[in-house]
Subunit: 229 residues, 2 copies
DNA sequence: TGCCGAATGTCAGTAGCTGACATAATGTTC
DNA sequence: GAACATTATGTCAGCTACTGACATTCGGCA
């Protein structure tokens, strides 16, 4: 139950379950159940064809309670991925100062995917679920829109981390923001390529890492001079 | 009424109004009125506090008719901006083959903003409206999400243009997709900076162009080696 | 003038989402 | 452990975005 590497997004500090009261544990369980139920329903019958009432009913809570845990239907779908993104941010925070900003970002993603795939396998918030979610998102316009918005919110956090790391004021120097945005964009198109690539698809997290690295490698060349020889 | 440089998104070929039948002209007028009315209402009382019924009523059509013109409430808000983006794509298509891909993209944006600001001023689909829309979008999460999705759809088109331009297969060579994504990201953060920058704000389209160029200039440095001297 | 097809209006219904209030479960204090 | 405060949950009523079905009206055309 304890997920020390992916702090849940309920605002709890990462402490042991047993020190939490019954109330908190029950809430956590309800939340996890809702995410799992929603995930299963979305994958089986599609996002649009799944109603909030169904999700709530399958966990035996009222629709109103669902909306007290998640602001909207999209949020429950993106919850797993959101945890993974939070973990990426944690990785970035801990990167050694000697690394170049781009190096730190790059190392953080591969590290995040590797650790997540090692520690959680196919658990409720695991890598398996995250990868399935990416497919679902990429094929569901409404979800894609919500996901993109979430992503650029994260970019704000990343911008702040980079700026602090390098001792810069993000209002003056645009490099932190530009790097965060460009990097996020490359990761996004990597997801896109991954969903279309059945081989990488089968390779799981490792395939994803490979694709992301290939795209990052092409970022420089894509911006540089003429492409033709 | 004729907007030769920003073909409307109704699927009409860009021909003179007078050769169109009464029916087509009426449809165009209704559409334009809906966009203008929605725009005015959104700016006055906010996006969320404006209902579709209000918009429809202020143009004297039924709510059902509104939804025959626009798939959803977001679409009417993004219509003006969508036209501008289409024009950017047109510019890109016409860029000389001698230019570097990045040069072509860069020239296309500045060209798009300049031409739009010269030719349409403050018309219903003009630059004035587009700039106001950017502020609205940036401060309205739902709109921002929809806008981001639209943007990455455009990125698909841009990717195709770049690939054809350079004679590449976008499935093999990731550079077109990567450049389109990174460029789009930089333009987006430029919009963000623009909304926060009152001076550039006051300068209108020229201020926007200046900000975009500043951000593009920093793309290389942001990716390169250590930032500290 | 009269016919055809397209645009519009009307109506009923579904689903996402919210506020208000009552109820029940939990935590706390003496 | 009894009384109280806090908090999660359920219920209900209501709003708004959006859709399908059908009737009506309007523009185009013979």
């Amino acid at each position: 139950m304890a997920l020390p590497l992916t702090p849940s997004r309920t605002g709890q500090p990462a402490s042991d379950c047993r020190v939490l009261g019954l109330r908190e544990r029950k809430k956590q369980r309800t939340r996890d159940s809702l995410v799992a139920a929603a995930h299963a329903l979305f994958l089986r019958q599609g996002y649009a064809r799944t109603t909030v009432d169904e999700i709530a009913a399958s966990v035996d809570v009222s629709q109103r309670t669902f909306f007290r845990y998640f602001a909207n239907k999209e949020e429950v779908a993106l919850a797993v991925l959101a945890d993974a993104e939070d973990y990426f941010v944690d990785c970035l925070r801990r990167r050694p100062a000697a690394e170049t900003p781009l190096q730190a970002m790059r190392a953080s993603i591969t590290q995040a995917w590797q650790v997540l795939s090692r520690d959680e396998g196919s658990g409720p918030g695991g890598v398996q679920a995250a990868l399935e979610l990416i497919d679902l998102i990429e094929s569901t316009p409404v979800l894609l829109a919500a996901h993109l918005r979430r992503t650029i919110e994260q970019e704000g956090v990343v911008t702040a981390i980079l700026a602090e790391r390098e001792g810069l004021d993000p209002a003056t120097d645009v490099r932190p923001r530009v790097l965060a945005a460009a990097f996020g964009a490359v990761v996004r198109v990597s997801h896109l390529s991954w969903t279309a690539d059945t081989a990488a698809h089968a390779a799981g997290p490792d395939g994803m890492i490979a694709i992301i690295e290939r795209h990052l490698d092409q970022l420089g060349p894509a911006l540089a001079g003429p492409w033709r020889n």
